[in-house]
Symmetry: C2
Amino acid sequence: MSNGRFSISLHILTLLDQGKDELLSSEYLAGSININPVLVRKEIANLKKHGLVESKEGKAGGFTLGKPSRQISLAEIYKAVQKAPLLGHQKNKPNPKCLVGKQIDQHLDALFIDAEEALVKRLGKTTLADFAKKFY
Amino acid sequence: MSNGRFSISLHILTLLDQGKDELLSSEYLAGSININPVLVRKEIANLKKHGLVESKEGKAGGFTLGKPSRQISLAEIYKAVQKAPLLGHQKNKPNPKCLVGKQIDQHLDALFIDAEEALVKRLGKTTLADFAKKFY
DNA sequence: TTGTACTGTAACAAATAAAATTACAGAATG
DNA sequence: CATTCTGTAATTTTATTTGTTACAGTACAA
């Protein structure tokens, strides 16, 4: 995944929840996270695709949450960010002449899906509102 | 973690379980996984530290399981391989002047530990023997 | 007792992936 | 119509992961 992206997205969304009612700029968000504003905008481009963020262009533009933070679970954020499976074996091309090598990818895939599901289930128990509440 | 390491370790251990009674060489193992034998030896160095593998040096040397595959859970393998937390935010240095930035690392850490625990718990339900059994 | 077939490691190189930067077009405001 | 934003592409830099080479040390077996 590049596991830092989940942290960044959650940080962004937490700030947006706190700054409800205001439009926050990528520069402001980047300042809190301490990364480049372009990275924030890229990350938000993804969050927008998933309906988690809305934006307004032009002068005095910026970002807000796409829906109330009570309706956003951390599982939803996780899934929005996640591209590749968490434990996935990458370009592995195990030896097909070997009994184990021939089948292992399918078994690993099944296992990883299960394991990741357990993690996502746990994340599903917390909403963005719950998380953001910790910051007062 | 470098998520491919878990796959490689599990692949190695599965082969060792199948080749019980024999000593398997790093070259043989590498042949099934289709990676470099030195990598296998490096990975095994770690598994040995955790008691999951034993080795014999010298001519006709090689590797065997350190204990019966029924007594090895996938959680144990996972923990042996894992260095950094799975979802961990790396060298993040969020802005301490920001209310959120100041505290977010501690909250993220707590969350990630919880989430990873759920995943490990799931992995704990399967033993290496269960996994290896699939290959017949 | 010496050649051979292994493991164990360190040091280095190459490939890949992630993060940061630069640059600029396009939108909305005032 | 100048200004201040977002959106996005292209590029560079940096970090991480993976692979390679090299060789010392160990055990066996002729």
